[in-house]
């Protein structure tokens, strides 16, 4: 049975078992490989995407649960990779191997949506489901603060 959903602003229809996790639908069926597999059990955050703006672990989200919903992956986070987090990530040269970073950025993006000026403790609480075996956490924290700053600056500019 075909399941319809919207991925990065485009309607798609997939014919897969209803219990197939969104992660594998994205990766194997839709060729959106920016979303990564790390544990398959909701333990590492590598597979984080947004479902209607809320961060979810796509490895434990059956595709049937997102039928008719909107999913955003790292590929669709911003046009031309211009999200303040993406800019801040480059400014602080955050990635090492890079594998976990899509998940980190997606979790951080959802945090900034809810909380435009997070404290260190709030960042840690939001990000503690995202593992980075390379150990880029210090830079992740700095880059989130920076992205928050960039977002606020952009907003002030718009309002002026």
């Amino acid at each position: 049975m075909a399941i319809r959903l919207n991925v990065n602003g485009k309607p798609v229809s997939v014919d897969v078992p209803a219990n197939m996790p969104l992660l594998w639908v994205l990766r194997d069926e839709l060729e959106q490989c920016g979303t990564k597999f790390g544990c398959g059990a909701g333990l590492c955050g590598a597979c984080t995407v947004h479902q209607d703006g809320v961060p979810v672990r796509s490895c434990v989200t059956p595709v049937s649960a997102v039928a008719g919903k909107s999913v955003t992956t790292i590929e669709g986070l911003s046009p031309n990779a211009t999200h303040p987090l993406q800019q801040a990530w480059l400014e602080f040269d955050v990635p090492q191997c890079g594998y976990c970073q899509a998940g980190q950025i997606m979790t951080a993006a959802a945090l900034l949506e809810k909380n435009p000026k997070p404290t260190d403790a709030e960042i840690d609480a939001a990000m503690d489901g995202n593992l980075c075996r390379c150990g880029t956490y210090i830079r992740i924290r700095k880059a989130i603060h920076r992205a928050a700053e960039l977002t606020r600056a952009a907003k002030t500019n718009r309002e002026e």
Partner: protein, 743 residues
């Protein structure tokens, strides 16, 4: 002696380079005594449109090496980095060693890269000289142009390619290497080529590789090391939607090397279908002798063995005599468990068998090992295995061992289609080449000031040698040479002994390897001795290191490994070790931060991979016994640094890796089976468990480049336990720390 040759374009990368490109191959003939002979180390091409194509022959797993080595070539070439395209090399011996391991990429290839760039630049200068009919000494390569300042003439590199490619390759003696003052990229902080992709999810990893028509495999492997398949029933598997078939993979013949473990594979049209099908498999195994392997029993066995004399591997003075006459003696035993690499990207590869040849795309640290292992598994020549190297989602040594690529190739041959193998996290944790568990017994005789007059250190651990020799029971030269037999302290009587021990799982090298357990035991013991003498740790360590000198290391029955480097070029230099201790003490504010209840600093200093590192870790232990790490300071003397920014990031990462293994990492077996399965029971440090801040202090140095990927790891665990002792009075002699109740 180095030699630079022109090579045929066909041999270059196997990919298209514009016609008329100037292609250089640099071959280095390694110093006497080093392993391979003529090693082509780099290929560099310049296309007629001026694009410089620089080959990255080492694997990218987060160190930045596939950008940084090409930057060295580009610097000497006087290339404009914007006109450089980096191409990842396939596996081929003509590049020299591609085993991206041992923190040696810069150390082994810096000179060769500079020569490659300088050779090309000289030939372009000569081509311009010919064109303008002026002496070539008056022509100078500058940012992708050759300029003749006297006449003001200027020609783009691309325009000169045709003439340059007709010129003889200059001799090394004629090269003019740039002075440091003219470096464009070396020592600078240029961003690496992959960063932007990583922020967009565009990096291509092994798990992302695809081949047309491929099937996805999920493999049920023998649950116990050396177990054999007795029978299986796949009746229920075939009913799973998407499953195409099952196939068996033959188990390894000892020694296991990098062979596939064997098992039963389910092949399907998606990753998910293959995994679902695998759950329906019924498999019977003959467990064999390791079916009763139990980590608790093995630990007791190892702790008993270290109380017995072992094979003497280093002997200075007369330890027995010194102990006999000693006033005060201190002794302690330490234990470190098995560990798993757990890179965020599990092992992954896709391979196709066709017409007696294999093509694979793999997340591998060592494409030549892939060629060899796959060739061995398939009974073909290694030249008939083409290994494309993807980005690696972490490696840490796991991806130097290409058993997973063998699996993909073996399955492809059976099913007649390309096959993709991606290990689940459970597969990764349960079937790793584990970092060795180790027991260490330490004993010191002490003088009136509490300084050792004699030092005995016994270690017992399953050796990585068992990978290549099933009967191996003693440590290999390189395992002993990792921070153990090369103890640098000024102690007149010193003996190291190694007891025999067999492996019961696959043992493999993991980031910093045997340094991890040796450093933990040695520096913990130093901390105990300093505490017993009631002396300041920094002052005690400096005293122990003694006068500034190069310590000659002469182990018993083997040569000193020293990362295969000569001790004259890379000595064990106490002055450099003392320098990082002093630097880290100063930067961390050691002298002014006296321990308070529940909050204190700890320190450890260790030389590994020819690099000198001292770490000060600040810990906080709350009234529930929970440990946090507000701050780490690490001073590093790694010799010359090519990209300080990436060097710092490696050291920051090492502090987290070291924290994970110190605080929480532990793999155990019961009934021969690995107990842990995923990040819930094999945790690694999360953002709130990792050091909150890590300050990296790089020592400016003109010494030859040593290594940066691993040396940050070893001092972290003993520095943490040293700090915990200072904060709580609790002495921790076994990792991980979470096993010890602190309140």
């Amino acid at each position: 002696m180095n030699r630079v040759d022109k090579v045929s374009r066909r041999g270059f990368l196997g990919t298209a380079i514009g016609a008329g490109a100037l292609v250089l191959g640099v071959q280095i003939n390694e110093a006497e005594g080093a392993t391979p002979a003529w090693m082509p180390s780099v290929y560099l091409g310049i296309e007629p449109n001026g694009t410089a194509v620089i080959v990255a022959h080492r694997s990218e797993m987060g160190t930045g090496i596939r950008s940084v080595l090409p930057m060295v070539v580009a610097d000497e070439l006087e290339a404009d980095w914007k006109k450089v395209r980096v191409e990842q090399a396939i596996g081929d011996t003509k590049y020299g060693s591609q085993n991206t391991d041992g923190s040696c990429s810069i150390r082994d290839f810096y000179d060769a890269m500079r020569e490659a760039g300088a050779t090309a630049r000289l030939m372009l200068e000569q081509a311009a000289a010919k064109k303008w009919n002026v002496p070539s000494a008056e022509c100078k390569g500058q940012n992708h142009f050759v300029v003749h300042s006297k006449s003001g003439k200027k020609a783009a590199y691309g325009e000169l390619v045709k003439v340059a490619s007709t010129l003889p390759v200059p001799k090394k003696a004629d090269l003019r290497l740039k002075p440091e003052s003219e470096f464009r990229y070396i020592g600078k902080e240029l961003p690496t080529i992959d960063q932007a992709d990583h922020t967009r999810g565009a990096g291509k990893f092994g798990i992302d590789a695809k081949m047309p028509g491929m099937l996805y495999a999920s493999i049920e492997r023998p649950p116990v090391y050396g177990a054999k398949l007795r029978s299986f029933d796949d009746a229920a598997v075939k009913g799973v939607k998407g499953v195409v078939r099952t196939a068996t993979i033959e188990g390894f013949k000892p020694p296991h090397m990098f062979q596939a473990l064997g098992g039963v594979a389910v092949l399907a049209d998606s990753t998910w279908a293959a995994a679902q099908g695998r759950k329906k498999l019924k498999v019977e195994w003959d467990l064999g002798p390791n079916g009763s392997f139990d980590s608790a029993k093995e630990k007791a066995e190892i702790l008993a063995k270290i109380k017995q004399p072992g094979k003497v591997v280093r002997n200075v003075g007369d330890v027995d005599k010194a102990f006999a006459g000693a006033g005060k003696v201190h002794e302690a035993s330490y234990y470190v468990p098995l560990l798993s690499h757990a890179p965020m990207e599990p092992p992954a590869a896709v391979a196709e068998w066709r017409d007696g040849k294999v093509v694979t795309y793999a997340a591998t640290q060592n494409p030549q090992a892939v060629q060899e292992a796959v060739a061995g598994a398939m009974g073909i020549k290694k030249e008939d295995v083409t290994c494309h190297v993807t980005l690696l989602g972490g490696g840490f040594g796991r991806k130097s061992k290409p058993d997973y690529v063998c699996e993909a190739a073996m399955l492809s041959k059976q099913v007649g289609k390309p096959v993709k193998v991606v290990w689940s996290r459970e597969d990764d944790i349960k079937f790793d080449f584990y970092h060795a568990n180790a027991g260490m017994y330490m004993k010191a005789a002490l003088d009136a000031k509490g300084k050792p007059t004699a030092w005995l250190h016994r270690s017992v651990f399953p050796s990585i040698g068992s990978t290549f020799d099933a009967s191996a029971e003693y440590g290999q030269e390189f395992e002993m040479g990792m921070g153990w037999v090369d103890l640098p302290y000024a102690i007149p009587n010193h003996r190291a002994e190694n007891g025999a021990h067999k492996n019961h799982v696959r043992i493999g090298w993991m980031r910093a390897v045997a340094h991890i357990y040796h450093a933990f035991a040695i520096h913990s013991f130093v901390d105990e001795l300093a505490a017993a003498a009631n002396r300041d740790r920094v002052e005690y360590i400096l005293d122990l290191l003694g006068p500034d000198r190069n310590v000659p290391i002469e182990p018993v029955g083997m040569k000193y490994w020293n990362n295969d480097q000569d001790q004259t070029k890379f000595p064990v230099d106490t002055a450099r070790l003392k320098r990082v201790v002093q630097l880290v003490a100063e930067k961390s504010g050691w002298a002014n931060k006296k321990p308070t209840k529940g909050r204190a600093l700890g320190i450890a200093a260790h030389r590994s991979f020819l690099t000198y590192v001292a770490a000060v870790v600040e810990v906080e232990v709350d009234d529930r016994g929970r440990v946090t790490i507000p701050r780490v300071d690490i001073a590093v003397d790694a010799g010359q640094i090519i990209n300080p920014e990436r060097a710092r990031s490696q050291i920051e990462g090492a502090a987290v890796f070291g924290t994970s293994l110190a605080m929480m990492g532990e793999i155990t077996a019961a009934d021969g089976r690995i107990v842990q399965s995923n990040f819930n029971n094999y945790p690694v440090a999360r953002i709130n468990e990792a050091p909150k801040v890590t300050h990296v202090h790089l020592v400016p140095s003109k010494a030859p480049a040593a290594g940066i990927g691993e040396p940050g790891v070893p001092p972290i665990a003993p520095a943490i336990t040293s700090a915990i002792f200072a904060a709580t009075g609790k002495r921790i002699r076994e990792l991980p720390i979470r096993k010890t109740k602190l309140v």
